[in-house]
């Protein structure tokens, strides 16, 4: 439990150091640290009251990541940091509510698994509905309600994981024998989700959902064959998508050849341009940002993200590309530490899954944890050109309300599972 205190100190220390390093030191910036500490303590107290035996690492790690994210967002744009702060408040509130309502037995969720499945589909389809859906940055995955923008996909991910955990727990034996008719509901809900995702051109999420699905199926059935079939299907789908969907083809081309010697057709302005000045502008500039960090980084607040005229050099720096901002300012040492923190969280998540006593809990924890790891890999790997780049948020760190809320819900569920597992094992 002392770890929580340590975590709090780290988080606050991080935040205040960061903010103090800004050239403008004001009461406002320091109050961020204060508010943050307050929120963190509140979350901690709620957790102590509701899930006293939960894994002690999770909340501090989440706090640390959130702190790193919000300070970097503050450094990039203080107004965004304020909004992000509000979303963290909402996230913590939902975190507390979830813990409170499910403190008895979260496994009640299993009873509503189909509701969650259909709910996931509904949430995913929301942006496609006329009137409330909004297309931002070429992908239709936003819902606009008055002044509020929301990306329901993030919540849908958690709903889907709950559905899969429930359904797979129930059907794992029969599924393992390969009875096709039991795959029905699974395929309907999952296939529907994929269809909607591809339709809304949210490729990063499609990949994420697919990965989570395969892994949960594998853990439930222990049949590597399913993973093989799934991977085969994925490859086939990828080839078809490459041939038919121009957006996919473009992403792959950017990935393989971000720099060109000769000018190529540029779809955004209809002229001939070097690819690094057109389609792969964002990726190459982000790589330049990372490269500029070197071993030690430029130091917090000292990175270069805008032109000499003050315009932003890299679009979406504080959402999808926050990693490249951090890489420049913290350097290899800093971001490696950050990735290690992600690893620590992932390790604790899998440990919870291993210790959990029932199938639903195990599957839920595996789904949530692997989703967390895979999401991190998809966005950072995309930025690092390990895989084609698809827009998705970096958990806890990126700017984005729906992402923050979803991550705190995930945290709450993991802590509930952990609390029960530890309580049954009789340890604190």
């Amino acid at each position: 439990m002392t770890l929580i205190g340590v975590g709090a100190l780290t988080a606050v220390g991080f935040a205040s150091v960061y903010i103090a390093r800004q050239s403008v030191i004001s009461a406002a910036s320091l109050s961020y640290a204060g508010v943050f500490l307050g929120l963190y303590l509140l979350a901690h107290l709620v957790a102590r009251a509701t899930v006293p035996r939960a894994d002690p690492y999770l909340l501090p790690i989440a706090g640390l990541l959130t702190a790193v994210g919000i300070t970097e967002i503050y450094r990039l744009d203080p107004t965004d940091a304020f909004r992000q702060g509000l979303w963290v408040v909402i996230g913590v509130a939902l975190f507390a509510l979830t813990l409170f309502f499910l403190r008895g037995d979260y496994r009640r969720l299993e009873n509503y698994r189909y509701l969650f499945g259909v709910g996931a589909l509904f949430l995913l389809a929301l942006p496609a509905l006329p009137g409330i859906g909004a297309t931002i940055n070429g992908a239709r995955l936003w819902v606009k309600l008055g002044p509020l923008q929301f990306q329901p996909g993030e919540i849908a991910k958690i709903c889907l994981i709950i559905f899969l955990a429930g359904y797979l727990r129930q059907k794992r034996e029969v599924l393992a024998q390969g009875r096709l008719k039991d795959f029905g509901p699974l395929l309907v809900i999952w296939g529907g989700a994929m269809l909607v995702l591809v339709e809304t051109k949210d490729l990063g999420s499609a990949l994420l959902f697919f990965g989570i699905f395969l892994v949960m199926l594998y853990v439930a059935t222990s049949r590597l064959l399913f993973v093989g079939i799934g991977a085969g299907l994925f490859l086939a789908g990828a080839v078809v998508a490459y041939e038919t969907v121009s957006r996919v083809r473009e992403r792959v081309t950017i990935w393989l050849h971000p720099w060109t010697e000769q000018t190529v057709y540029c779809a955004t302005n209809g002229r001939m341009e070097l690819r690094q000045n057109c389609a792969s502008y964002q990726l190459t500039k982000s790589l330049y940002s990372i490269a500029n960090g070197g071993y030690t980084g430029t130091g917090p607040g000292k990175g270069t993200f805008s032109t000499t005229g003050g315009d932003a050099l890299i679009p979406f720096l504080n959402t999808d590309f926050i990693y490249s901002a951090l890489a420049q300012e913290l350097g290899l040492i800093g971001v490696s530490a950050l990735v290690l923190v992600f690893m620590l969280f992932v390790m604790r998540g899998f440990r919870i899954s291993l210790l959990a006593s029932d199938g639903f809990s195990k599957l839920l924890a595996v789904g949530l944890t692997f989703g967390f790891a895979l999401q991190t890999f998809i966005i950072v790997g995309g930025i690092l050109r390990i895989i084609p780049l698809t827009g998705i948020t970096l958990p806890f760190v990126s700017y984005g309300g729906s992402s923050v809320v979803a991550n705190f819900l995930m945290l709450a569920l993991l802590m509930l599972v952990s609390n029960r597992a530890n309580a049954l094992r009789g340890i604190e």
């Binding site: 892994v215 222990s222 720099w259 690094q276 330049y288 032109t307 290899l332 990735v339 690893m343 195990k362």
Partner: protein
């Protein structure tokens, strides 16, 4: 299920480890090649977070390049400012936001940004970075004499041309004036090239960006006779007293090559010595000498003065050009004597084209008893706190001719100024050695004129080359007075 979970955990860990490996690749392995990319917008701005070193005169009183501090979105940026506008502009060069750089701003960029490999600088730059202090580059101090430079630029005025002066005993550049010049501050303003092309001068295009001292080739005319004379005397085939008869022309390939002046009534000097032939710049004599020496011997002597190589200097290689024979735009060295007309080469025609710095090196080599010193324009480089990073030590470039030959040539060149074509370069109380040059341009009446000189002749402290384009006068009437004015100024320096 636990076995499956363990496997999935392993996969997840591998994925995350791949991220660290990937980050390492970009931040360590590929970092420098990315930094060098032309479209690297981050570097384009990041360069301004470094306080670039200043470029100053050697005494530190004249500042050629410094910085303007400005805050942009909470980030302190340093923009280049050139307080002396057109002074030494082509040598100092510019550094723009688009990362286009010229002159010393380009070739010394590593020093100016503190990224040179000198150990002290490496330590300091990294310490500054870790402490979050603004990285400050090294300061560069230049050898040119600010007063001499200003006077030379003023004397050139709106005439296209150059003045290049060296200290013969060291190779130190004293003046590097190229005309027309331009305000370096224009380089980072919009419409740089259109604005610069509006600069008015007596040639078209005026090309103010070209460093005429090191990167422009001009026909040397009779100033090249000094090189021929060096070959003639040093080879032992002639002495200053060698006697010639000048009929007003020289016969080459069965055709008459006339002396300079009106082709209908060529100047005729009758019987005269080799020394007098230089004094009065008699083409027919040099034509004969050239035929006897052969083109290759003359060219080989020119090589000893530095022809056929890039003139050594700290500016970028592509801002210097080698002197020599040129054929079809390429430097050309004949494989045998018959390929080049030796008579015309001897008095500076025949596809021979030269840079002012090269002709200054010729004058300096003769002045320095036959030893050509390596020209240098950077006196020293210091860290911001004043501690020395590097100081240029004078180095010998080549021994061009014997000391005895140099002595004889020195006397012959003095006679040019005392009683020959170069009397306009006389300085009261100072013995001056020099040689005029007037090269026809093909447009009748329009010449490229030269004067190369050194002074005081008995103990030279200044060697100079002056070239002017599009002149109606001769080297002795147009270039010699400028050489005189600039040498006077340079001799007054302590």
């Amino acid at each position: 299920m636990n076995r499956g979970i363990t496997r999935v955990a392993t996969v997840a860990l591998v994925l995350l480890v791949a991220l660290i490996v990937g980050t390492t690749y970009w931040q360590v392995w590929a970092s420098s090649s990315l930094a060098a990319k032309q479209d690297n917008a981050i570097q384009r701005v990041a360069q301004f977070t470094v306080r670039r070193g200043k470029i100053e005169g050697s005494a530190g009183k004249t500042i050629y390049a410094t910085n303007l501090r400005r805050k942009v979105k909470g980030q302190t940026l340093y923009f280049r400012k050139y307080p002396n506008r057109g002074m030494l502009a082509q040598t100092v060069g510019y550094s723009t936001q688009e990362r286009s750089r010229t002159g010393l701003e380009s070739s010394l960029n590593d020093y100016l940004t503190g990224t040179n490999s000198n150990l002290n600088t490496v330590l300091k730059t990294n310490l500054d970075r870790l402490q979050g202090i603004t990285v400050t580059g090294n300061n560069v101090f230049l050898t040119p004499d600010p007063r001499g430079q200003r006077i030379a630029q003023g004397a050139l005025g709106t005439q296209c041309g150059a003045v290049f002066a060296l200290e013969p005993s060291t190779g130190k550049v004293l003046v590097a004036a190229s005309s027309p010049t331009f305000d370096l501050n224009l380089a980072d303003k919009p419409n740089f090239l259109p604005n610069v092309s509006k600069i008015h001068a007596n040639c078209r295009p005026a090309s103010p960006l070209v460093n005429r001292g090191t990167n422009a080739l001009f026909p040397p005319g009779s100033s090249f006779k000094v090189v021929t004379a060096a070959a003639a005397l040093d080879s032992g085939l002639y002495t200053p007293e060698s006697s010639f008869y000048d009929p007003g022309y020289c016969v080459e390939y069965g055709k008459r090559v006339r002396n300079a002046g009106d082709p209908e009534s060529p100047e005729q000097f009758g019987t005269l010595t080799f020394s007098q032939a230089l004094e009065h710049s008699v083409n027919s004599v040099f034509c004969k000498v050239g035929i006897r020496l052969g083109a290759k011997r003359i060219l080989d002597y020119s090589k000893r003065f530095g022809f056929y190589s890039l003139p050594p200097l700290e500016t970028p290689e592509n801002e210097r050009i080698a002197s020599g024979l040129y054929s079809k735009g390429q430097l050309y060295y004949p494989s045998n004597n018959s390929q080049v007309d030796p008579g015309r080469l001897a008095f500076g025609q025949e596809r021979m084209i030269v840079t002012p710095i090269q002709m200054a090196m010729v004058a300096a080599g003769i002045a320095n008893r036959g030893v050509v010193m390596r020209p240098y324009v950077v006196d020293r480089i210091e860290q911001p706190n004043g501690s020395l990073v590097t100081r240029t030590t004078p180095k010998m470039l080549s021994r061009a001719i014997k000391p005895q030959t140099a002595h004889e040539l020195n006397l012959m060149m003095q006679s040019v100024v005392t009683g020959g074509t170069g009397t306009a370069a006389q300085i009261p109380g100072v013995s001056v050695a020099g040689k005029t040059g007037t090269a026809e341009t093909g447009n009748s009446g329009i010449n490229t004129t030269w004067f190369i000189a050194f002074a005081p002749a008995d103990h030279p402290r200044v060697a100079i080359a002056v070239v002017l384009q599009n002149q109606t006068g001769f080297g002795g009437t147009t270039a010699a007075p400028i050489a005189k004015t600039v040498m006077e100024a340079l001799l007054e320096r302590p």
